[in-house]
Structures are given as C-alpha cells and as structure tokens.
Subunit: 334 residues, 2 copies
Amino acid sequence: MTDAETTPETTVGELSEGQVLRGILDRLPPSTAPVGPGDDAAVLSVPDGRVVATTDTLVHGPDFRLAWSSPFELGFKAAAVNLADVAAMGARPVALLVALAMPDATPVSFVQGLADGLAAACDELAPGCAVEGGDLTVSDTLTIAVTALGSLEGRDPVRRSGARVGDGVYVIGELGEAARGLEVLFRRFTDADGAPVALTPQARAALDPLDARAVSRQLAPRPPLATALAAAASGATAMMDVSDGLVLDATRLADASDVTIEIDSATLGDEPARALDGGEDHGFLVVFPPDAEPHGRRIGTVVARGDDAVRVDGRAWEGPGGWDPYRDWDAGRG
Amino acid sequence: MTDAETTPETTVGELSEGQVLRGILDRLPPSTAPVGPGDDAAVLSVPDGRVVATTDTLVHGPDFRLAWSSPFELGFKAAAVNLADVAAMGARPVALLVALAMPDATPVSFVQGLADGLAAACDELAPGCAVEGGDLTVSDTLTIAVTALGSLEGRDPVRRSGARVGDGVYVIGELGEAARGLEVLFRRFTDADGAPVALTPQARAALDPLDARAVSRQLAPRPPLATALAAAASGATAMMDVSDGLVLDATRLADASDVTIEIDSATLGDEPARALDGGEDHGFLVVFPPDAEPHGRRIGTVVARGDDAVRVDGRAWEGPGGWDPYRDWDAGRG
C-alpha cells in the first residue's frame, strides 16, 4: 500500500513499519536534539553532565480502557506521567522515547491521535521537550512504554530521602480528582456485567461539570510541572510524584527519609478519604524546610520517626492508602 | 504473602509490586549512578554533556516464543539489542531502564532468570552498565521494553549519514547465524500445526554443534560492542546495528548518506543469501575512509548514488533483504 492510498481506517497491519512511523513523526514537534529520530539512537544535550531518566508503561487493561480513553488522551497521559517523574527530581524534561506495541488491527487514525496527544503534553507541560526516539512493534496487547529524560540545569536532584524533622509537607496539584473520575467511569459507563461502555462525546457533554472535569483528569492528567521545578529551585528538601495514592506515596517518602509524616485531614478538602487513597493525579508531594519559600498548599509536618510512616490526624490511616497494580487489577479490559 | 513464604513457583500475581521488584533488584549488578533505582527517576553521569538514548521492545509472539527462549536468554537479548544500538552510535552504555509487563501467572523464577540475563548481558557486553530504573505492570502479553543510555566520552556520534564515496564497507560480528538458528527452531521444534514445541536442555544438547550455536545466537545474540567502540575511535564515518537484515539495513545507511553500497557476495561466507537476508545478529555495519585503520571484515565499497541503494555483485538484490515486524509476523505465539 502506498502512503497516498492510506485512509484513517487503514490498519497498521496493512502498512510497513516505515509508513506507520512517518504517520507518527509528521505529527510530533520537530526534534530539538543534536541527533533526533532516524538513527540507531538519539543524542541529547544535558549541559551539566547529568541526565535524569525514568520509564513508565500504560497497558491496555490494567491502565486504560479503549471504551473510555480517546487516543489523544492516551498519548497525553503516557507522556504526562513520565514528564511528572522527571520534574519530581527537579529536572526539566528534554526528551521522550516512545515504544509502541499495537495489534495489527489498530487503525492509523488511532496512532495519529496518540501522536497528537504526545505532542500536546510536551507543548503544554514541558515546552522544548520532543519525542526523540522510539520503537514500533506488533502485540496482542496495546502497550505504550515511554521513557522521559531530563536536565538538572546545575541543580541538585530532589530525592525522596531529604525530608528532615520540622520541615513542612506540601502538595502541588490536585488530590483525588483522578480517583473521582475513575469512580464516575465505573459507576456510569459500565454495563450490568461490569464491562465498560463507550464514553461518547455526547455522554461526556451530558455529565455534571465537576464529574466531567474529574473524568478528564483521570484520562489525561495535567501535572503542574512548572510549579514542581519552581519548588526544586526554592529549596525543597524532598519531592515525589503522587501517582499511587497520597498515603502510599507519603509512606515511601517517609521511609526513604526515615521520618514520620503527619497529615492534617482538614487540609484535604471536602473528601479527605478520596484525597488520601486516590491515585493517578500526578501532583507532587514536596517538603520544604521552615526557612524556605514554599510552593503548593501545606498538608502536614515532618516529625521524628515513630511506629507509623504516615499518620493522619495523629493516627495510622485505616484506608487502602493507594493502588498496587499487582493486587488491584480486576483483569477487565474493554 | 511474606518474602519468606515465596518459592520459585510463586506467581507475580500473588505478590506486591515491591516484592516482585526486590526479587529483581537483588540479582542485578549494583548501581553505579549518582541516583539509582528507588526514586522517581534515576540520575546518570554523562560527563561530556551528551547522552545517547534508544529503546527497543521484545513482545511475546512476534519477538520470542516461551517454548524456545529461557528467561535468562530473554533478559540477555532484551539488554543486548539495546546495548548494540548505543554502541552503534560510538557510545559506551552506562545504564538500562527496564519496563516489564507480565501476566499475573508469571512465576517468580521466570522474573529471576530474566534479571540474571539482564545482569549477564551488562557484565559481558558493557561492563559498568547497570539497570538503573524500570517499571513493573501486569499485562496479558509478556512485554520487555528496554531503554539504553550511553556516554560519547567526548567523541562525535557515528551516524548513518556519514558514508562517503570511496569508503570501505565492513561488518563487525556475525551475519546469518541468528537467522540460521531461527530456521533450526522452526524446522525442528514445531509440531505438525506449526506450533512451537519445547526446546529442552536435552534436545539442545542433541543438536549438531553448529546448529546449537546458531540457535544460541538467535536466542541470545552477543554483539561485539568493544570492537564497535574501537571502530568509532579509529575514524569510522558511518555505523549501524545490523538488526533487520544486511540488505535492508545497508539500504537505510545508503539512503541516509545518499550513496550506493556495493556488496561483494564472495565475502559473505558459504551462505551469502542468508547473510544478506537474515536479521537479528546485531553485528555492526561500519564504513571507514581509505586512510583509517579498519575493524571487522570488508564486504564492499561505497560508490556514487545510483538507482539502487544497495547492489550485490553489481545488481539489485532480489531476496527479501530483511524482516519487517508489521509485515512478517505470523501471529503465532507459544
């Protein structure tokens, strides 16, 4: 099949790898790297001689349902969750590598929407960052594995292990919105057997505006990267992306720093349980010493290590605290 | 389940993500990075301010059969193909990131074998390189997405586009061995319906030594990285990993350089067709100017661009020339 003969309904199985690749590259922002896509590997500039690197994968089933996510949202989310991990170290994202494994029957229009979402996430969250490399293969399970690389620009990395007793604990971004969106999807967009039903543009438009916003945050989170980088520049002692749930992630930070984190649930809005247990917002948990200019809103305090890594209102938290993909996936797909 | 209760038969679905991760990290070489596994992202040192980055995925079905590959070989191959791409730019690999998506029913012993293979590939092919980050998720399709990062150590990257008329064309490593191994597997280790049957240690021991070697090269290629780095240091004008087939990859290099590559089939051993068409050896195609000290064995010459990107013995090559995953996967798995 020639490029001129392809339509949005053409499937990737009808095309060569080179044709699928061209359909993606044409929609991405131009490379800003010394060597961009097209060679055995990309060459990226990280002037201070250190590169920050992370990888995170979205898998059809445990991580998304095609009945709910548009291709654009999938591309956006796959980029955003990785960009957030780079920013959580205090680094500016400079490049993504995208490994895409797709069933033969995937339409070219799907791949184009995915590329548009990757491009939009770079433009909106990390201007100057581009997709500088990747890999295409066929698979029975649609899988999007993204690696993000970042530049520290001379700053020290902000690790999980730097929290000190007396520091203030802050959150940058939202808590519980993505979890609320997931609840809306499971409650309103599944059939009697629990199988997902299509979230059409019409159905989305008919949602209560707060529900619609929550669904949108679940399907395409918008981590506030610029504020995270400002936090790193203004002396944060510890920072991490809140991806699996506030209590679970705060536990990781507290364990790495050998401290206990006290959270005041009155700071967590109208639904503190959802803020404590809900994952996937990709905001930032950040710790500032008393003399720093903080960013975000304060939710607690670092205290000496006690029996519990995290305490909420002075007690251990009884809720699930977050999400573990090895325990919590229900094997659904759709 | 506590760590003490796990056995090799325990499945990843019975464990937490943290437990699966510990089972992997314990078997990998220790981190050599400023920040290794365990934070939102790794921080790696690339002293000259440039990082080489590439990603390549192995998917159950198109890329491997569990009846044939041991977990060790899968880990080794997943690392080796990415290490080869870094070396093909003239860079020394410094880190791998490994994103592993596995069915719930995957035994822990499988994950351990995979980790051992990753570790062995780093030790054998790229000493000092370690797995510095990764991601674990569940999936219906076993998928191993690896990103490799490298340091140019002050050298210019060796691109595909640098070949000049009059340069000599060389190959470092083997050609056709991996393809021969795949032929042995399909001919001797499939049933009447074409489904793979188990390649047991006993069956492997009973193979003709040359067949056994070829099978081993298919399942765990050993790209000669040290020689590729020596080639970069001694003035190679162009280089690339030969992964999809000599003619197909030489075509890519010729197109990028706007030249034609003349190959002399008499230099390709006893089975030139297999050397020209067979992929997955992960040797290196490298081009040297006449005044350089070459590495590898000479297979041809760069000439002015003609109608064909590659000519074999003065004519266009009539064989397939290589492998395209979007055209050539038969949908088998096993």
